[in-house]
C-alpha cells in the first residue's frame, strides 16, 4: 500500500465515522468520489422527476373543472417546478451545473421517475396522482430529510413542508369523484386501477435486487430500504382507498395480523423494465417537451445575458 492509498483510506474512515455519528456532510467537506457521484445521480434524477412531473398534471391544467381546482392545480405544479429548482440547486453544490444535468436528461443519460411516462386520461388521474404518486413521493422524501448530505436534507425538509397540501388536494378530488355521479365514480376507480401498480414501482426494485441500496444505506443517503418504504405506503393507503369505497386492483392484498401489515401481490417488473427502457406510452413526448422548452428557450436566455452584459458595460462607462 502506498502513501496515497493510505491517505485515502484514512479520509474515507473519517468520513464514515462522521456519517455514523449522524453529522451532516457539507459541500466543501472531503467526500469519497463514489459518494459524490451517487448523490449527483440520485439528486439530479429526483430534480428531473419534479420537472418532468409537471407535464402529466399540466395536461389537465387548461381543462380543470372549476376555477378553484384550476388555481390549486396551478399552484401545485408551480411547487413542483420550485422543488425541481431546489434540488438542482442542491445538486449544483456537488460541482455539476444545471446545464450539464439538463444535458444528461436530454440525452437519456439521466433518468427520471418512470411514473411520469404514464398518460393522464381523465380528471380523476389528477386526483390519483396527488393521492398516490405524491403520497409515495412523500413517504420517500420524509426518509430523505435525514440524509447525510446537508444541502439535500435541507432541500427535502423544505419540499416536505410545502408538499403537505399536494396529497390532500388529490385525495379530495378522489373523494369528490368517488361520491359523485356514476361516471365520476367509474373514472375514479379507473384511475386507481391504472396508477396503483406504477406507484408501487416508484419505490424501486425489491431490496434483494437493489444493487446500490446497501452502500447508500451505509452512507446514510438512504435511510430506509425500498421494501420498507413500499410497505409503509401500502399500509397507509389501503384504508384510504376503503374510505373512498374504491377497490385496489390487487387480489392478493390482505391484512396480515402476524406481521401487522398488508400482504400484497407481486409487481410486474417486466412492465417496470419496459417503461424504464423507453417503452412507456409517454417517454418520448415527455422528453421532447423538456428539450423543446430548453432548446426553444435558448434565444430568450441568450437575450437576457446579452442585455445584462450591455447594461454592465454602460454602467462601467458611466462610472
Amino acid at each position: 500500500m502506498d502513501a496515497r492509498t493510505d491517505d485515502l483510506d484514512r479520509l474515507e474512515a473519517e468520513f464514515q465515522a462522521k456519517v455514523d455519528a449522524e453529522q451532516r456532510i457539507e459541500p466543501k467537506d472531503w467526500m469519497p468520489d463514489r459518494y459524490r457521484q451517487t448523490l449527483i445521480r440520485q439528486m439530479s434524477q429526483h430534480a428531473h422527476s419534479e420537472v418532468v412531473g409537471m407535464l402529466p398534471e399540466g395536461n389537465w391544467l387548461t381543462r380543470a373543472p372549476s376555477l378553484k381546482r384550476k388555481a390549486i392545480l396551478m399552484a401545485k405544479i408551480q411547487d413542483e417546478g420550485g422543488h425541481g429548482l431546489y434540488l438542482y440547486s442542491a445538486t449544483e453544490t456537488l460541482g455539476i451545473s444545471r446545464d450539464e444535468m439538463f444535458d444528461q436528461l436530454h440525452t437519456g443519460k439521466a433518468k427520471y421517475s418512470t411514473i411520469f411516462n404514464y398518460p393522464t386520461l381523465t380528471w380523476a388521474d389528477v386526483g390519483a396522482i396527488g393521492w398516490l404518486v405524491d403520497g409515495a413521493a412523500i413517504t420517500n422524501q420524509i426518509a430523505l430529510c435525514r440524509c447525510s448530505y446537508g444541502p439535500y436534507a435541507r432541500a427535502m425538509i423544505r419540499i416536505c413542508k410545502e408538499e403537505s397540501f399536494h396529497q390532500r388536494q388529490g385525495y379530495e378530488i378522489m373523494m369528490t369523484m368517488a361520491q359523485g355521479t356514476k361516471e365520476q365514480k367509474e373514472m375514479a376507480q379507473d384511475a386507481l386501477n391504472r396508477w396503483w401498480w406504477p406507484t408501487l414501482m416508484m419505490f424501486g426494485p425489491n431490496d434483494s435486487n437493489s444493487a446500490n441500496s446497501a452502500q447508500s444505506m451505509k452512507w446514510k443517503i438512504k435511510r430506509q430500504s425500498n421494501d420498507e418504504l413500499r410497505q409503509k405506503f401500502i399500509d397507509a393507503t389501503v384504508p384510504q382507498a376503503e374510505y373512498l369505497g374504491l377497490k385496489i386492483p390487487d387480489d392478493e392484498l390482505k391484512w396480515n395480523e402476524e406481521r401487522g401489515a398488508y400482504d400484497f401481490g407481486e409487481i410486474d417488473w417486466d412492465e417496470f423494465k419496459a417503461v424504464v427502457s423507453g417503452n412507456g406510452l409517454c417517454n418520448r413526448e415527455r422528453l421532447k417537451a423538456r428539450i423543446d422548452a430548453h432548446d426553444g428557450g435558448k434565444w430568450v436566455r441568450d437575450a437576457a445575458l446579452a442585455y445584462a452584459a450591455k447594461k454592465a458595460a454602460r454602467k462601467a462607462e458611466a462610472a
Partner: protein, 252 residues
C-alpha cells in the same frame, strides 16, 4: 339595460379579462424558457385567476340569477364573453406572450388604480387588492421587453414582430361605450379613454429604452364588448369548458 345589467356586464369585462389571460398563461406551465420563469409566469397566472374568481363571483351576485363563478366561467359561449380580443390571442413565442402581457399589465394597472376609488366599495376593494399584484406583473413584463428588445439581434427581431402583430389590439382597451359612460356617470366605472396618455407615455419610454419601434397606428380591431371575438376564443373555451359541458350534472 338596467343599472344592474350594466354593472353585471362591466364586471364580466373585468373578470373575463383576468380569466382568459390566466388561462393562456396556464398553457405555458412546464414549457417556459427556464425553470425560474415557469415559477414567475405561474405566479402571474395565479394572480389573474384569483382576480377572475372575485370578479365573476361578484358579477353573479349582481345578476341575481344564481350563477356562481364556475357557472359563468364554464357555461357561457363565445358571444357571451367580454374579454379584450388581445387577451384571447394565442401565446405564440415567448416574445409574443410578453408583448401581450406588457400591453395589458400597463393598461390594467391604470384601470385598477382608477377603479380602486370606485363608489362601488366591493369593486374598489377588489381593485385595490389586485393593484399590488399587477404592479409586480408590470415590472416582470417590462423587464422582459427590455431584455428581449435590447438583447440579441434575434430577440430584438422577435420582440419587434410581436409588438407589431399585437399593436392593432391596443385601441380596444381604451374604448368607451354606453355602459362605460353610464357607469362613469354613476361613479362606479372609470373613463378608460383618459388612461391612454399615461399608457402611451409609459409604453413609449420603455419601447424606446428597449430599442424597439412604436408601430404606426395603421390597423385596429374591436368587438369584444358586443361579444364579437376572434376564432381563437372558441377553441380556448372548448378546452377550458370540456368537463363541465360533458358532465353537466357533476360536481368537481
Amino acid at each position: 339595460m338596467t343599472d344592474k345589467d350594466m354593472l353585471f356586464d362591466y364586471l364580466l369585462r373585468l373578470g373575463d379579462n383576468s380569466l382568459i389571460l390566466g388561462q393562456r398563461l396556464a398553457e405555458w406551465t412546464g414549457h417556459t424558457p427556464m425553470l425560474e420563469e415557469d415559477l414567475a409566469l405561474t405566479n402571474v397566472g395565479l394572480d389573474l385567476i384569483g382576480q377572475a374568481r372575485m370578479l365573476l363571483t361578484y358579477a353573479g351576485e349582481v345578476e341575481g340569477k344564481g350563477r356562481d363563478e364556475d357557472r359563468l366561467a364554464f357555461h357561457r359561449d363565445t358571444a357571451e364573453w367580454r374579454n379584450l380580443l388581445l387577451l384571447e390571442q394565442p401565446n405564440g413565442d415567448f416574445a409574443k406572450t410578453m408583448a401581450r402581457q406588457f400591453f395589458f399589465d400597463h393598461f390594467q394597472y391604470l384601470q385598477f388604480e382608477a377603479l380602486s376609488t370606485s363608489s362601488d366599495e366591493r369593486l374598489a376593494g377588489i381593485a385595490a387588492k389586485s393593484l399590488k399584484e399587477i404592479a409586480y406583473h408590470r415590472r416582470h413584463s417590462t423587464d422582459w421587453i427590455l431584455r428581449l428588445g435590447d438583447g440579441t439581434a434575434e430577440s430584438h427581431e422577435k420582440m419587434q414582430t410581436a409588438i407589431d402583430e399585437l399593436w392593432g389590439f391596443v385601441p380596444e382597451m381604451f374604448e368607451m361605450d354606453a355602459t362605460d359612460e353610464a357607469l362613469l356617470d354613476a361613479g362606479i366605472g372609470i373613463d378608460v379613454a383618459r388612461l391612454r396618455p399615461a399608457w402611451d407615455a409609459a409604453v413609449n419610454a420603455i419601447l424606446a429604452e428597449a430599442t424597439l419601434a412604436r408601430p404606426e397606428d395603421s390597423w385596429s380591431v374591436r368587438g369584444s364588448r358586443e361579444g364579437k371575438h376572434s376564432e381563437h376564443l372558441g377553441y380556448l373555451l372548448a378546452e377550458m369548458q370540456f368537463l363541465q359541458r360533458a358532465y353537466p350534472d357533476a360536481k368537481w
